[in-house]
């Protein structure tokens, strides 16, 4: 113990005596440990930490699997399906359904659209096992069609709007102008796995009789019975799915069921990205450790005399090794402490960098005890990692003889630099690929022009806007009013904005064609739009005409299809769909609709996704309560937000607009994950490049300084300054080329992991590989040139005299 204390004292004294070395080495480590701690805090909060529910491993998501119909693996459920899975004996301990809603709340201050979710009775208490903090959850009799309108509030909503008044229970709120009684308040911090920012919850009141197996409107979360494995649950659920296939061949033919662990399903969109980032920062730390190891090698070379003296005085290898490792661990501890400070700031920056990234747990990421333990382990590991090899070399028993003998030096440092460059190249290639991919995504043809367009969403209360005429009238008045505003050039309404995250599909048949196979129906995504929508978002029609004022309920029913639908179901342009008629369901619906136009394809669900068949209905023929308004403006769209709000309340004072934002935000949000990962990986790659450059500079510089005498000899032999510069640069370039070679092989092996994150760029993109390698070689050239220039000015008389 006494020996260790003495070693620590001595190590501290040595570090204090070399402040420049300590500052550079600890700073380098702080950077490496800091970014690792920050990313780990996010990885831990999002991927590693259990969901904040009792026995979270028992929670699963339940989806319909439509892969056999060339559909998604995660399709929403219908009320009919949900009831079947709920009533299946011994399948799940509990299952609950939910759907997102955005009702307009009136009677509490100004009318406001609130984020909300409709859930089945028992979702909180039995599925998630979270009891309300005040009052109760929903009763079975409240969760049936026509059941009492009740509402449960979030803790934050209760605090903000009711000052945490416990007497709120029993009060009546108006949601979409339907009075709903407050029956409960959820505990502080409660964030359900669905709509985590929901402010209120209502009973979902499913009605399988009204919308059985045809409406994919809900999503489900189940709790497996204790001791039941995921495989067993999957097996049981697939038996139910098999039975439903037989009982409802039209709706459920070739439809299976997908069960996933809830946590994995929630983080799925970002899981790979986060692991990639974690890998990237690990490389940054390794590069940082390599730099410090090289510094220590240089330092221990300079201290060889001291070690030789210790050995001569009888010091054992273990004692020299322990002394040096104490120094490196102490150095790492300083770096670690600074790294934690950096990480606290960086974690906040990371969260701030991720707006639009809906990841559970991300907001809770921070430097806590778990993260600190990780950092402590990382620090200790780093200290041993970068300190061990230099310490091992310095403590070699032949140190005394070696210092007297001299001999070739620096091969280890050179190898480390080559490895460092290889790691930097891997990171740079990864970042380069993501940057190119992001560029492709940003440049992708959207099919519409979001620039200069303001969007907002409205939900008309069904009670007051029960009939079509009142809905049509409201939106007509609103659009008229907006259109008259100075600076607004056009307006339009749609039931589903592109990249807005909402849409619904329906099966259809084409007149004159045999009914499609029920298990492989014709499907189209349905959007209701006003005629002004297409020009407002600059979505052109490639054939036919737009909707006109006359396309109302009294006129012939018309529809506009997109190019994908025309191609897939008509073989367009070989066969022209214009003038043909379609209808929905099994073909018994007499409401045939004539195709009057073909609209250009748009990226509707995600920029990465291919376009799906879509149909646009004229709003006047199929009015709805919930619509989004697109407003093309002559300037910054946000400058027109106030006008838009006042237009909404001018037409109906009890209404409020939600999600008022430029349409470019939709595109930005659609790119949020890609932007987040690309920015971070690029930042890490730049840090890695800087560290590797500094490392290379250091080693070349140190090597050149150690070889001053050799340079003097060469000059005496007739070498010119140019010869000397070339010698030094060649040495630096040699490391770099070796590193680039190793790095290219490594990158070829590793970038496959990025494949799922890339869009329209192969993981082995030659341009990226060649560009990155060139950048590294150029940087290596620069890093070698500076010491080379100095070496070229060597004074042979001086250096030979030193000898």
């Amino acid at each position: 113990m006494d020996g260790l204390a003495r070693d620590i004292r001595l190590a501290a004294r040595r570090l204090l005596k070399a402040p420049a070395f300590t500052l550079i080495a600890a700073g380098t480590l702080a950077l490496g440990i800091g970014v690792n701690t920050a990313i780990f805090s996010v990885v831990d909060a999002v991927l590693l930490r259990d969901l904040p529910y009792d026995a979270p491993d028992e929670l699963v998501t339940v989806w319909l699997d439509k892969t056999r119909r060339e559909g998604p693996e995660r399709e929403w459920l219908t009320p009919g399906d949900f009831e079947e899975y709920r009533s299946a004996p011994n399948l799940f301990a509990e299952i609950g359904a939910w759907g997102g809603i955005n009702p307009t709340l009136t009677g509490v201050g100004e009318p406001q659209v609130v984020t909300a979710a409709a859930v089945t009775e028992g979702m909180f208490e039995r599925v998630l096992k979270v009891e309300p903090a005040h009052g109760r959850g929903f009763l079975p009799e409240e969760d049936i069609p026509g059941g009492a309108a009740v509402v449960v509030l979030s803790h934050g909503f209760w605090q903000r709007n009711f000052g945490a008044d416990p007497s709120v229970l029993g009060r009546t709120l108006s949601l979409n102008e339907v009075p709903a009684v407050v029956v409960g308040v959820m505990p502080e911090g409660f964030a359900p796995p669905f709509v985590p920012n929901a402010q209120v919850w209502t009973p979902i009141q499913l009605d399988p009789a009204r919308c059985g197996f045809g409406c994919y409107t809900i999503r489900a979360i189940a709790r497996m019975a204790p001791g039941i494995s995921l495989d067993a649950a999957r097996l049981g659920a697939s038996r139910v799915a098999g039975r439903l296939e037989e009982e409802h061949p039209a709706e459920n033919g070739k439809v299976g069921v997908s069960i996933f662990e809830l946590q994995k399903d929630l983080v799925r969109p970002v899981e790979r990205s986060l692991w990639v980032l974690f890998g990237a920062v690990a490389l940054v730390l390794l590069i940082a450790c390599t730099n410090v190891a090289n510094l220590l090698l240089a330092r221990s070379a300079a201290r060889e005399g001291e070690f030789a003296m210790r050995v001569a005085l009888g010091a054992g290898r273990a004692s020299v090794l322990r002394q040096l490792l104490t120094e490196s661990v102490l150095l790492a501890a300083i770096g670690g402490a600074a790294g934690v400070t950096l990480a606290a700031w960086a974690t906040d920056a990371l969260i701030a960098m991720a707006p639009g990234l809906a990841v559970p747990g991300l907001a809770e990421a921070g430097v806590d005890l778990r993260v600190l333990m990780f950092t402590a382990a990382l620090t200790l590991g780093s200290g041993v990692l970068f300190g061990f090899v230099p310490a091992l070399r310095a403590s070699r028993p032949d140190i005394y003889a070696r210092t007297r003998r001299g001999g070739p030096q620096g091969r280890l440092a050179s190898s480390l630099v080559a490895v460092q460059i290889a790691m930097a190249l891997v990171l740079l290639v990864g970042a380069g690929l993501l940057v190119r991919s992001f560029q492709q995504l940003s440049d992708a043809e959207l099919g519409f022009d979001p620039e200069g367009v303001l969007t907002m969403t409205l939900a008309l209360p069904g009670a007051r806007y029960a009939d079509s005429d009142s809905r049509i009238s409201y939106y007509e008045s609103l659009l008229d009013r907006l259109e008259r505003e100075p600076g607004i050039t056009s307006v339009g309404a749609t039931s589903s904005l592109p990249l807005g995250g909402t849409d619904g599909d329906a099966e259809f048949r084409i007149e004159g064609e045999p009914p499609p196979d029920p298990t492989d129906p014709n499907k189209a995504w349905i959007r209701r739009v006003t005629g002004g929508y297409f020009p407002t978002v600059d979505l052109p029609l490639v054939a036919g005409r737009n909707f006109e004022d006359g396309d109302d309920a009294r006129a012939t029913r018309v529809v506009i299809v997109n190019e994908t639908l025309a191609r897939r179901y008509y073989g367009y342009p070989g066969r022209d769909p214009l003038g043909t008629r379609v209808t929905f369901g099994d073909g018994t619906d007499p409401n045939w609709r004539t195709i009057i136009g073909i609209a250009r394809d748009t990226r509707h669900f995600a920029i990465r996704d291919g376009t799906r068949p879509a149909m646009y209905f004229p709003y006047a023929q199929v009015p709805a309560t919930n619509m989004s308004i697109a407003i093309r403006t002559a300037g910054d769209p946000l400058n027109f937000a106030a006008s838009a709000r006042s237009a909404v309340s001018a037409v109906d004072a009890a209404l409020a607009a939600s999600t008022l934002a430029p349409m470019t935000d939709l595109v930005a949000d659609a790119l949020a994950t890609d932007r987040f990962v690309t920015r971070l990986l690029s930042a890490f790659a730049v840090v890695a490049l800087l560290l590797a450059t500094v490392g290379l500079y250091g080693v070349v510089s140190y090597g050149a300084s150690r070889r001053r005498q050799e340079m003097g000899i060469r000059v005496a032999m007739g070498a010119t300054g140019r010869d000397i510069r070339r010698l030094v640069v060649r040495r630096g370039l040699g490391f770099a080329l070796l590193g680039v070679g190793i790095g290219v092989v490594g990158a070829f092996t590793i970038t496959g992991l990025l494949e799922a994150l890339l869009y329209d760029v192969p993981a082995t993109d030659v341009v990226t590989f060649a560009g990155t390698a060139s950048v590294l070689v150029a940087v290596a050239l620069l890093a070698s040139w500076l010491p080379a220039r100095k070496a070229g000015r060597v004074d042979p008389v001086l250096v030979l005299r030193e000898e």
Partner: protein, 242 residues
């Protein structure tokens, strides 16, 4: 001056400036060396022998005076020209051998030829010839630290000779060697001289100075007569000299 004169120093001086103090390392040096001559420069430590050798080897420039090498003024040569002259006209042998540790014996000897752009075949032939001359042709793949001090200095002699320079400049070539190895190196230099090589050797060892055709004595940066040199030597030894 005849065309037999290889080196002519006329009034050469060298002043070092250190911390605003002028140190006169050399003063008014007048020296001629003819082709084939073996000149020893002797004198106590710090008398300016090595500085003089550096100037002769174009590693350093005089502060004043003129220097003719093979009839050509060496004072106004550019850095590149000086490097070329060093490479082609001068061969260096240092006290500390100054072989490059990372290079093999062969590569060390080859070094001057690489700066001259000599072709590989010729380089090989000349390196081999040089090493044979010093009796180390069998050690081509060894590294300097695998050789004894005497062997290392013989490699240095081979390196100095390989470019067939006009003159060999040797700075205390025996200073780091035991007497046996030192004797061998001096013997080697004598052989080279007997074959016509011009040699200028700095030494403070009177045994080796006498091997030379002529000994130039230096004291306090100046060339002094032999008598003066003996007088200074006696004074340094603590004797009173009338």
């Amino acid at each position: 001056m005849t065309n037999q004169t290889l080196i002519t120093l006329d009034g050469v001086g060298k002043v070092f400036l250190a911390e605003e103090m002028e140190t006169h390392a050399l003063s008014n040096i007048n020296l001629s060396i003819v082709r084939g001559e073996y000149v020893a420069i002797a004198g106590p430590s710090g008398c300016g022998k090595t500085t003089l050798l550096s100037i002769l080897g174009l590693l350093d420039s005089p502060t004043n005076g003129s220097y003719l090498l093979d009839g050509t003024p060496a004072d106004n040569l550019t850095t590149g020209q000086r490097a070329q002259v060093r490479n082609e006209a001068i061969g260096f042998i240092f006290q500390a051998f100054n072989l490059i540790g990372d290079l093999t014996v062969y590569e060390n000897v080859e070094l001057p030829l690489t700066y001259r752009g000599t072709g590989a075949a010729e380089r090989k032939e000349r390196v081999q010839e040089s090493l044979e001359r010093v009796g180390l042709a069998h050690r081509t793949r060894h590294y300097p630290n695998q050789l004894s001090g005497g062997q290392q200095q013989r490699v240095a002699v081979a390196r100095a000779m390989v470019g067939r320079p006009l003159i060999l400049l040797a700075d205390e070539p025996t200073g780091n060697l035991d007497s046996k190895s030192g004797g061998a190196v001096i013997g080697l230099l004598k052989e080279l001289h007997d074959d016509g090589t011009t040699i200028c050797m700095v030494t403070h060892d009177p045994r080796y100075a006498h091997v030379a055709d002529r000994t130039v004595h230096m004291f306090d940066g100046q060339i002094v007569s032999e008598d003066q040199a003996q007088r200074h030597a006696l004074e340094e030894a603590g004797f009173e000299v009338a």
